[in-house]
Subunit: 109 residues, 2 copies
């Protein structure tokens, strides 16, 4: 039985849109820095991130939201505090072992 090769593969198109969003989230050095800090620090609240990353709160919130919406980080709210951490499962699914290393502790030696 012959398999039809469609001109436009809608499954792939969906995939490309999904990965476009994730790569967009990764395509910013400030967000890569945030990810690097989260991998070093583990779960961290926004108020502690502010002095480390050195950016105003609204800006940090903006970038955290982009990473969150792409499922690259996870948020957990405890009372007034919001704790963010890397979604390691997701990151490992996207990035190479080599690249994942800059997002894992013990690399910045």
């Amino acid at each position: 039985m012959l398999k039809e090769i469609p001109l436009i593969d809608h499954g792939l198109e969906k995939s490309f849109e999904k990965y476009e969003k994730k790569f967009k989230a990764l395509a910013d050095k400030k967000r890569l820095q945030i990810m690097n800090i989260l991998t070093k620090q583990g779960s961290t609240c926004v108020c502690d991130l502010i002095p480390i990353v050195g950016m105003p709160q609204s800006k940090l919130s903006y970038h955290l939201k982009i990473l969150l919406d792409a499922n690259i980080i996870i948020k957990e709210t405890k009372g007034t505090w919001s704790y963010y951490e890397i979604n390691m499962e997701e990151v490992n699914h996207i990035l190479s072992e080599e690249l994942c290393c800059i997002l894992k502790p013990g690399n910045s030696k």
Copy 2:
């Protein structure tokens, strides 16, 4: 001997800038489509790509340049023709095995 932990790690900063560029190149579904076609087709010239990807020549050239500058694809010129192909080594260094699969033949079944 104690190791100093710098507030700003310039080595990491350079890395982040490098990866920012690569992720930016990947962060577009049209470019992911181009990459997918190049993995299926192998080395392909621009004039053959135009009808496959269905975009005007100047637009295609623009997107190919972004992928080329990020070292994600390789260009080889033969006379009037320019042939492009995936830089597999680079792609494998960045992306997970799982994700590399959408950029390898035999996946679109």
